[in-house]
Amino acid sequence: MAVTLPRPAPAAPVQAAPEYGALPAYRGIVSWLTTIDHKRIGILYGSTAFIFFLLGGIEALMIRMQLATPNGTFVSPDAYNQLFTMHGTTMIFLFVMPMSVAFFNYIVPLQIGAPDVAFPRLNAFSYWTFLFGGIFINLSYFVDGMPDGGWFGYAPLSSIQYSPSHRLDFWMLGLQILGVASLAGAFNFMVTIINLRAPGMSLMRMPIFTWNTLITSFLLVFAFPAITVALLLLMFDRMFGTNFYYAPNGGDPLLWQHLFWIFGHPEVYILILPAMGMVSEILPVFSRKPLFGYPFVVYATVAIGFIGFGVWSHHMFTTGLGPIANSFFAASTMLIAVPTGVKIFNWMGTMWGGSIRFTTPMLYAIGFVSMFTIGGLSGVMHAVVPIDMHHQDSYFVVAHFHYVLFGGAFFGLMGGLSFWWPKVTGTMLDEKLGKIAFWFTFTGFNLTFGPMHFLGVDGMPRRVYTYGINQGWTGWFGLNWLGWNFVITIGAITIMIGTLIFMYTAFKALRGPKDAPNDPWDAATLEWSLPSPPPVYNFAVAPVVRSRDAYWAWKRRPQAVEAGDTEATLTVAGHTVGHVEFEEEQPSEEYFAQERNAYHINPSSMHMPNPSFFPIIAAFGLTLMGAGMIFGYALTVAGFLYLIVAIGGWALESTG
């Protein structure tokens, strides 16, 4: 009953087409360095983010080896403090955020029927800035050691008096560089989504993943300046002798906390909303029914975005803000649980009455719903301030945020990865292997982070490089080394196994045949109407959108449209199973014929914007400026000149 659009005619192979205008077609590595194609940039983001994920995972494994037994000697205290700082920084800024952006890049223009993002070169600049910023932070290893102030860098510990080496300078400047990348990306996606939607795609007909991208970008735009200022004030304190956080001269360490968390709380929504968007795409496809309560899911996400700016002091409940402030933030934090719950119930409503296929992406999406709910419940417990006076800075919080970040964001991202894998690579992941990887990861995850709740209730603080034998956190059956910490380490190793299995699955697929169909899942959104992978120009003709779930509507709109009706009844084996409504005047059959013929257009007549060197040069210049603040101002000046030249070239460059 499905109508599939025909593939492009093989007459003019896409690879041979002079796609890049009058300039010579770049090949090989140069074509990657100068690409401004959102799909390539998406692949760059995703691969780089995955490598940082492995780095962050190794850091986690080393932490767990140290903590498996009491009085551990696997790493020194100094090394441990660097490890937990970098694990957090890497996973948040170098893995989850860029991996989400990889999907924003690849998928969003396809979902809205656009040929690319609004500012392709700015897009490339974002990627290169992220890559150089990530490398820059990790270069600290070769200088004074890696940052060791925690991912949150509280003053006064982060001040020059208590952290005199360059470790925190790398952290501080690296985050600033990464912030530029994130902000540039956020601007780009907001303009793209607001301005480049296909004809007929109103906001309330957009795919839900695109909505989440829009709201995440909004959060980025308004939250990042806060940490930019926090870091600038820290830099001025460390390098220019100001007093913002310097207590002897009247500076208030709480200023850092406020500024950091005004960024930090929206940041956690930035981390989770993309994954929620992916889950909201996957669940309907594999339940074979639309997202339940789409408008309410949209409103709930918008509400989370707004309320998320009003809860930041729940990270500061133990700083003596006073009962009134504490009560206010307790209430606002509880309030944000309401729209979150609405989303969870709508996901369940999507599956209710559906026909659920348990594919690998679906397993991750279901895992998300289950694990994120657990994380949300522990989060609501933290909102109760007196309870938080125990939970804060204990392993209970570590359990909470790993349930929402790993069981939530990571599972969502893995769901998205396995879901869109055929579209991006043109290959199919082995389902059996994918499921095995999932179960190892799921089991390992719960073995690792479930017991942390118990450790938290038993009073174990966080960020400790070791613990004693008599503190109650070890010593089962009289064995000094056996306790929850040991179990947790086993869980971490299990996660590692799951990751390795997934990597093997991915390599196996990439070396296999590129024979993925354009729509292997019978999915709902426009990207699935294109070949796998899509041609460089995406859509030969901007698709016209007449309803939500535009591709489902297209596939399932039987003869009704040919007859000029504005609605159609879907029937399966004689039963009515639903309605599809078209809210606008319909084009004629002749138009549909033209659309189908459009795929026979010779790709060489498509004109893509030229690739450019200036984004990578500008990114490099920016990074040099940061490096110069540590290694010598001459570098900063040099970097600034690079940046100016790049901006000039960028402005004057013809894009063809």
Partner: protein, 351 residues
């Protein structure tokens, strides 16, 4: 189909989960000195009462949602002949329902929360024994705790000062005035009350009334540098009579009596200890950088609660503090073995 069936990986995982749960039950009976659910004061009980309420509410929601999810997954799994289900788009009544219901549950949580916040944070309740609260200043250091008792003065007029071991009376409200003169720390003695941060340029407060004599253990809970993990403290609650006796002993200087103790007192000066540590009764020991060691002999632990205060441990510490607490501010002073012996005798004689 990979979803748990009668055989295969699903069953193995269920067994694994049961095994883990069993372990959880067994371990719960072990001695847990830092437990947050064994309250020993009025303040800790208020937190516990709230926790019990919230825990059961959360458990109820947990069972409901996870159970509902499992049911949905089983009931609506794809079966042959049911390819395309009814394409429902939503239900406004349900939406309103499941917006309001959680909000109501949250109100049930919010009201006692705010009540407890004010009870714990606005002003200390009247002390059971009719006395005003016992004010003790707590100052977080890298990586130990300093305690000052303004109510108990030494002969010099200075407040009684100790370190790492906080002695308090039962039956009287203890009011801790907490701060730091360096980085942020957090004072957390789990069975007495929740934690609060110790910050420079800020004063934070905790109050509680200990009900029974005993020893309670705590640990710093805000990352404060390289030895954050080894910054513990213990609180010793005594009956009011015993407490008065302790105050009386502690406000008098302790002096070296035996020969070896006197030798130790001299070594305390020649090895540079006096430059960092103060000892009431030792006129050269007036250093303020390190913990006050007056009456060190009566303390049960050393090095901020990480070692029992035995001669062997003290000797090891003096020989090289960096092997026990690497990165801490007390350097290896290369003390000669004879001096170590004497210092141990001296310090342990300060009771």
């Amino acid at each position: 189909m990979p979803f748990p069936r009668a055989s295969g990986i699903g069953r193995k995982l269920v067994l694994l989960g049961l095994g883990v749960a069993l372990l959880a039950l067994l371990s719960g009976c072990a001695n847990v000195p830092h437990s947050t659910v064994m309250p020993k004061t009025d303040a800790a009980r208020k937190i516990q009462d709230l926790y019990v309420l919230v825990f059961w509410l959360a458990a109820f929601v947990f069972v409901g949602t996870q159970g509902g999810l499992l049911y949905v997954l089983w009931r609506y799994r794809a079966r042959p002949g049911h390819e395309l289900p009814e394409q429902t788009h939503g239900n406004t009544t349900l939406e309103i329902g499941w917006t309001i219901a959680p909000a109501v549950i949250l109100v049930f949580m919010a009201v006692p929360t705010i009540q407890t916040i004010f009870a714990l944070e606005s002003a200390p309740p009247p002390s059971p024994d009719g006395n005003p609260p016992l004010v003790i200043e707590v100052i977080g250091k890298q990586w130990w705790w300093e305690f000052k008792y303004p109510e108990s003065r030494l002969a010099s007029g200075q407040p009684l000062t100790t370190a790492n071991e906080l002695v308090i009376p039962t039956g009287r409200t203890v009011y801790l005035s907490i701060s730091s003169d360096n980085v942020i720390h957090s004072f957390w003695v789990q069975q007495l009350t929740g934690k609060i941060d110790a910050m420079p340029n800020h004063e934070t407060r905790l109050w509680f009334t200990a009900e029974e004599p005993g020893q309670y253990f705590g640990q710093c809970a805000e990352y404060c540098g390289i030895q954050h993990a080894q910054m513990r403290m213990n609180v010793i609650a005594m009956t009011p009579t015993d407490y008065q006796a302790w105050v009386a002993r502690s406000t008098k200087p302790a002096e070296a009596v035996t020969d070896i103790a006197k030798e130790g007192q001299e070594a305390f000066g020649t090895n540079g200890c006096a430059g960092c540590h103060a000892i009431e009764g030792n006129p050269t020991a007036v250093g303020k950088t390190g913990p006050d060691l007056s009456h060190f002999g009566s303390r049960t632990t050393l090095a901020a609660g990480i070692l029992q205060n035995t001669p062997e441990n003290l000797a090891a510490w003096i020989e090289n503090p960096q092997t026990i607490k690497p990165g801490n501010i007390m350097q290896n002073l290369h003390v000669r073995p004879r001096d170590v012996e004497a210092l141990v005798a001296y310090l342990h004689s300060l009771k």
